[in-house]
Subunit: 439 residues, 2 copies
Amino acid sequence: MQQVNLGMIGGGTVGSGVFHAWQKNGDLLAARLGIKISFRKIAVKAIDEPRAYPIAPELLTTQWQEVVNDPEIQIVIELVGGTGIAKTMVLGALAQGKTVVTANKALLSAHGPELFAAAAKSGVNLYYEASVCGGIPIIKALREGLVANQFPAIYGIVNGTCNYILSRMKFEGADFATVLAEAQKQGYAETPPDLDIDGHDAAHKTGILGSLAHGFWVNHHQIHTEGIREVSKIDMEFAAKLGYTIKLLGIVKQAAVKNPGRKTLVQVSVYPALIPSAHVLANVNQVFNAVFVRGDIVGDTLFYGRGAGKDATASAVLSDVADAAQDLKHGNQMRVPPFVPTAQAGKVVPLDEVISQYYVRFSVVDKPGVLAKIAAIFAAANIGISSVFQPEGDEGASVPLILMIHDAPNAAMRKALARIAKLPAVKAKPVMFRVENLE
Amino acid sequence: MQQVNLGMIGGGTVGSGVFHAWQKNGDLLAARLGIKISFRKIAVKAIDEPRAYPIAPELLTTQWQEVVNDPEIQIVIELVGGTGIAKTMVLGALAQGKTVVTANKALLSAHGPELFAAAAKSGVNLYYEASVCGGIPIIKALREGLVANQFPAIYGIVNGTCNYILSRMKFEGADFATVLAEAQKQGYAETPPDLDIDGHDAAHKTGILGSLAHGFWVNHHQIHTEGIREVSKIDMEFAAKLGYTIKLLGIVKQAAVKNPGRKTLVQVSVYPALIPSAHVLANVNQVFNAVFVRGDIVGDTLFYGRGAGKDATASAVLSDVADAAQDLKHGNQMRVPPFVPTAQAGKVVPLDEVISQYYVRFSVVDKPGVLAKIAAIFAAANIGISSVFQPEGDEGASVPLILMIHDAPNAAMRKALARIAKLPAVKAKPVMFRVENLE
């Protein structure tokens, strides 16, 4: 039986998870692939650091160069994370002609094209299934399973921490700060939580999905990113009454813009949005992730699973290892290249030009004439109001006023809201979320 | 650029869908794969039969042998269906050294091992993504994306016709016969509807999923199969009140049995079951399919999409064509073989030995003592009742009595129900559905 040797850099939570999964199912993998996969060396921060699962001590080293430079190692798994030393490690392994498997979304997001070029130069592959949505084989789905499709729309719940918080807010009527604090205690949210809560982690993943789907590399700074700090209990409740659920979405869609040009214009954004509660995507709860992919041929599909955690991530890492091992067995170079620019490459459209629908909540003084003033500003901006709700409620000096807004460009909406915010009767910064009907 | 030539047998609904998808996205496929894929010949029943999409007439022939025997054709797509002439065609193409792509679940279900052996003998591959759940890339997910996992449980909504009928019954409170008749009018159900309604189509697909997941071939006759004819409006309503939704499930799970032996015992069944309404699988509605896959490493995953239809199926067929074309480009033989028997192969356990939970509805005479008699029979069989509901209701001479039953072997349950059915106070055949809590 063919033999393939692995090296791994990183032996913490995910690294020990990968080792454990290989210990458990290595024989099964060998039977399925006809390839014996063995670990040869694992570089860690400290030999005796605490781990989720034990790693055979004779495999451990604290020198990552020993992994990258070992001529017997054919595949290097990088689980260090971040964009610093991890980049040196990955480039080093590729330069040595080793296939690299990484779970590092931040690194790909920051340096994808450079890494892919290095892989191509060395004629080896760079696999990254684990970088987006942990155990969900979404990279393989986009690159292989749905390869015959164009992708008019992708909506992903790609951050488990945010989905956990929003799910608890929905089902328990709890407010954001309370749930966040509890999530931090339970280990579902980090301290500080900014990378998750402010949407940056989701943006890393959304950029990778967008790049794969549309054949041009989406730069991180092109992704309009909003987090979930502004989602309040009251918004969750009103959304539910209107038949919607609020989810943080990574969105990649062929943009509805006013003056489309020849190139495909693609909206790539991360923001909390109202989606129909009956939709399967709205029923993805707790820490689960899901990516709703619309293909022009296949129609609507959805891929669901755990987006993080040592075991789910290990499943994705080992599936990449299996593909890489098959490449070695069959002498394939770049059978499925990590990223393929396509001729019809498009570009990211600024969110200001994108046309969206909106839910807006104002805190207003409870007296006649306020709605008329707000409506006049929207009318002047040529923005149509589709419905108005003034629920019973007592916020002391002010009351909530909720408007659902027809299709309007984001720039026009932004400017109108800025004007409305200055009205004396408007007592707080307007809260605005987009509505995605997934149609 | 490398060139690959396709032949296709079958130019009806799905065949013309494949041709249309290729016309639309062939250039994109070429860009993504670095391979130009061309159609060379398409065998059809009649040149001028009506088609969903037109096919270039110069490609058409009525002689399937012209496709199988054309030395320029490297990949043959079989879309004829059935287990008769289609088998001859597939074996013929394999014997000629051509890779075969098929959507034919009935053929695989009946003759899988023979076809795989023929493929192995010729050193070519046999792809069948389109045979299970149309556009959902579930075969690729099990074989590649989740390759590092054992599969303790798989629950699939794999028949769109049944899911459409059950969805309408749930949301409209309609009864089975009415919805079936309408579905037949609208083309969502065939006439006669038996293949779908009685679970046979689901059994074909479930057998293929079970075989892939557990590494031994599941024969069609080993699959306990029940359809949805017995699901009534009243059951749908009571299930909802108890927090459940009734779905037809294809089930492949490591069995809960009383005396497990050394081999993995696998339950492979198709039946309508109550599943928790809040679960993502319960929210898969209308004609959509979904497969809920539990991996021992990855945890819970779900794959959702259209399970049938010319376009969704075309997406799957072309993804197989892409894989086959990559094999040809890279000179791979059987990179991912169609089916790999594994050492730890298990066996299918008879349903009688499987332990399930149950929902049972009796039609009983409305007088004291009936429940006591029923409970006594269950007690004698060592079957525990977890709850009893006697809803208000007027069925004339009888009233409904609903019991939820704890874990009990199917044989014991079957025998107890047969005894209960003979009680004079029991006025109709008891209705029994299993409860799958997906835990």
